[in-house]
Every structure is written in structure tokens, then in C-alpha cells.
């Protein structure tokens, strides 16, 4: 079994009193709680400090933890010979038990000793809910997919103690999931005990960046570069969308920044119409031109009366935006 230094995790001395422990936990919890924190690794850190606090705030668990002695964090160790008998009322092995599960199990052991095995057996205990982060490419989010998750989860063994077990869960993801969405997989969490319901598995979806598309909710945005003459004369372009290529008509005189909307070409929604896809026009210019092209541009420049900055003079003259004298 690997040792975890719960005092160090909470940043308190081994002789800290209950109040110091509570204060240290609350201070860290405000900083790292995954629902409010933007800190990197917040979830992992919060899990670690919750585990430490759950043990140290309970006088009986803390005494049992202290009797394990002090070791370096991560060091393999064996508890004193009679430790398990004394604290958990059971001669189970330590070999494949996580420290967190061991102390979580102590509460169950205490209840069992207090009320007797028969009473314990009759109390339904619901299974734990599991959470897993799932990162999907945009195309899979669009189409729906099937994923396999490999989780290591705490489950009760035959002796009624928590142990880490590997679980492989195949999950069908519906089409049209969005970044930040949560999905529920009923009954695929921890097993309930004594007739308690099985827990659920919750998936936190994030959609990976795509080189062409930018997603906002169920809408998709993409850049549409046009050559200057395409923007002036109008054109028809083959536009790749997650549902396949579509032909998009670009009207003559299309300015840079204009959004061309393709209704219903965004991500599908579980209920209601699909999102939209927006192609945002950019005017792309060639950085290298040959002599013939340069001549044509010069002819165009000399022959055109178009002034893209004509409004400058008019707006300056009108005094728009000036404060009162």
C-alpha cells in the first residue's frame, strides 16, 4: 500500500487541532473546488485534499491514520500487525487496497460493529456515481460515436471492503453533443449494496479544436477566403461541412466580414432544429504576383473610381463622435 501524507496535503502540522484542519481544508477547497476553480489540476488536487480531510476530521479515523506512522509520500509500507483487526474488525489483506478506500471503509466497519452485521446487511446503500472526461473530435460529436472508457473504480469486495477494480465501459454517445455538455449513463456507476440502486456514470464532454471549424453551442463558424475578383463578381464555392460538401452561392459585391448562413448545417440538437453553419468571408490577396497580373491590377487601379475610405472625410467633416466644446 502506498503512503499518503494527509497532513502535508492540507499543509498542517501533525499536531494540528481540529479547527486548524478545518480552516486549512476550507481555504484549499475554496481555491481548488472543481465547480468554482479554474486552477490547473483542480480536480485532482481537490480529490486529494477531500480524502485527507475526510480522514483527519474524524477523531477515530485520524487516530487510526496516526498509528500507521509517518512515511514518505508514495512510499510502500505495511501497517502494524494488529492494525486492521483493531480498526476495521477484519483480517483482510492490504495488498491491493488504496488508502482512501481503506479509510472510507472504516466508517462501514464501525457501523457494523455498532449495530451488528444483520442490521448492516439490511441497509440499502446506493452505488457511487462516477465521472469521466471525454474529449471528442468535432466530426464524432456531429455524427455520434461509440467510445470505450477504462476506469479504475472503488467497489465493495466479498468481505464488504472497498477495493479498486478495473472497469471497461463501452458507451454510445448520441449525435450532436456540444462542448461542456454533461451526459448521464444510467446504472453504469458503482454497484449498489443490499438492494441499493446502482450509481450512474456522468460524462463531461469537451470537443477538440478543428482546423476549419469553430463551435459555439450548436452553431459552427468557419472562414471563407475569397479572391478579390470572386468577392466583386460573385461565385459559387464548394464548402466542406461536417455533413459533407455543399455548394454555396456567393453574391456579387460580398464584403469581407459578411456572414453567410447555412441554416441547419450546424450540430444536430436532441430536440428542435439543428444549429446553423456560418461562413465568414475573408478577402484573400496573393502575396506574389507575376508581371502580367501586376499590369492588370495597375490597369484596374487607374480605371476604377472605387474609394474604400470615402466615408473617412465625410465622417470627420460631420464631427460625429466629437465631445461637446
Amino acid at each position: 500500500m502506498k503512503y499518503k501524507d494527509y497532513y502535508k496535503i492540507l499543509g498542517v502540522e501533525r499536531n494540528a487541532n481540529d479547527d486548524d484542519i478545518k480552516k486549512a481544508y476550507r481555504k484549499l477547497a475554496r481555491k481548488y473546488h472543481p465547480d468554482v476553480s479554474k486552477e490547473k489540476d483542480a480536480e485532482e488536487k481537490f480529490k486529494e485534499m477531500s480524502e485527507a480531510y475526510e480522514t483527519l476530521k474524524d477523531p477515530e479515523k485520524r487516530a487510526a491514520y496516526d498509528q500507521l506512522g509517518s512515511h514518505a509520500a508514495g512510499q510502500d509500507f505495511r501497517p502494524p500487525p494488529d492494525w486492521f483487526q483493531q480498526h476495521a474488525g477484519n483480517g483482510s489483506t492490504f495488498e491491493d487496497i488504496d488508502l482512501a478506500d481503506l479509510f472510507a471503509g472504516l466508517a462501514g466497519g464501525r457501523r457494523a460493529r455498532a449495530s451488528g452485521e444483520r442490521a448492516r446487511a439490511s441497509v440499502p446503500i446506493p452505488g457511487q456515481d462516477y465521472e469521466a472526461a471525454v474529449r471528442l473530435p468535432l466530426q464524432q460529436a456531429f455524427d455520434g460515436t461509440e467510445i470505450e472508457l477504462d476506469l479504475t473504480v472503488p467497489e465493495y469486495n466479498d468481505q464488504g471492503f472497498l477495493q479498486r477494480v478495473p472497469r471497461r465501459i463501452k458507451v454510445r454517445i448520441p449525435r450532436g453533443v456540444t462542448d461542456g455538455q454533461k451526459l448521464r449513463v444510467p446504472g453504469k456507476g458503482g454497484k449498489g449494496v443490499n438492494g441499493g440502486r446502482d450509481g450512474d456514470l456522468y460524462l463531461d464532454i469537451s470537443v477538440l479544436d478543428h482546423p476549419l471549424y469553430r463551435v459555439s453551442g450548436s452553431d459552427i463558424y468557419m472562414d471563407l477566403p475569397l479572391a478579390p475578383w470572386e468577392a466583386v463578381l460573385g461565385t459559387s464555392v464548394d464548402l466542406p461541412t461536417p455533413a459533407g460538401t455543399v455548394q454555396l452561392k456567393v453574391p456579387a459585391g460580398t464584403a469581407a466580414g459578411k456572414r453567410l448562413r447555412l441554416s441547419g448545417r450546424g450540430l444536430p440538437r436532441p430536440s428542435g432544429p439543428a444549429g446553423d453553419l456560418y461562413a465568414i468571408v475573408q478577402i484573400a490577396v496573393p502575396t506574389v504576383v507575376n508581371d502580367r497580373e501586376r499590369t492588370r491590377y495597375r490597369e484596374l487601379a487607374e480605371g476604377s473610381t472605387f474609394n474604400p475610405r470615402a466615408h473617412f472625410a465625410a465622417e470627420i467633416a460631420s464631427g460625429a463622435g466629437r465631445g461637446a466644446p
Partner: protein
């Protein structure tokens, strides 16, 4: 540790459509009945028909209710402090969604 994984399969359900009964919301979120009542009083959770004898909720309320349960337990807050915190989280989420939308509209943004 046993290294042979147990294999199971399931269907992921969106929480954006469908309804949950009062009992289901309590069971699935882990909230107590009194905390759920406080969150409804504070307007954080809205039953589909507040005057109905038995409340039902839109499924997406489960995400809020589970967050409320975690905040209540982990930060040792009372239910009304949780309501206030959820309001702030909701505002941050809305602002982040707006920021994502504006960025998505910016040509060349990655």
C-alpha cells in the same frame, strides 16, 4: 489488483431533453428534501409546474442539483449560500459562452 476489467456497455443520455420526477431528482442528485426545497424557494431550480401537487423538473436541472449537492457537502455551505454561488456560476457560464461565441465569429481565431 485484479487486472481483468469487467466489461459493460451503456447508452449516454442527454440531459437537455426529458423530465425527472421529484423523487428521481432527489435520488440522482443526492440533495436532501429540505435543500431541494430551499433551492426551489431561491429560484435556482424551477419545477415545471410549481403549483402541481408533485413536482417534476426539466432533466437539465440535474446538472445544477448535483453541483449544488457537491458545493453544499464539500464547502460546508448552507443551502442559501449554495444558491448564491450557483447564481454566480451561472453568470460565469453565460459570460464564457458569450466569449466563445465572439471568438468563434472572429476570422482566423484558433
Amino acid at each position: 489488483m485484479n487486472t481483468n476489467p469487467m466489461f459493460v456497455s451503456g447508452e449516454a443520455l442527454s440531459l437537455e431533453s426529458g423530465e425527472l420526477s421529484y423523487t428521481q431528482l432527489i435520488q440522482l442528485s443526492g440533495l436532501s428534501e429540505s435543500d431541494l426545497a430551499a433551492l426551489v424557494d431561491d429560484g435556482v431550480l424551477q419545477p415545471l409546474d410549481p403549483r402541481a401537487s408533485t413536482w417534476t423538473f426539466a432533466s437539465h436541472h440535474l446538472v445544477v442539483a448535483r453541483t449544488a449537492c457537491r458545493l453544499r457537502r464539500d464547502l460546508e455551505l448552507d443551502a442559501h449560500a449554495v444558491s448564491l454561488l450557483l447564481r454566480f456560476i451561472e453568470r460565469v457560464d453565460a459570460l464564457e459562452a458569450e466569449l466563445r461565441q465572439l471568438r468563434a465569429q472572429m476570422p482566423g481565431w484558433r
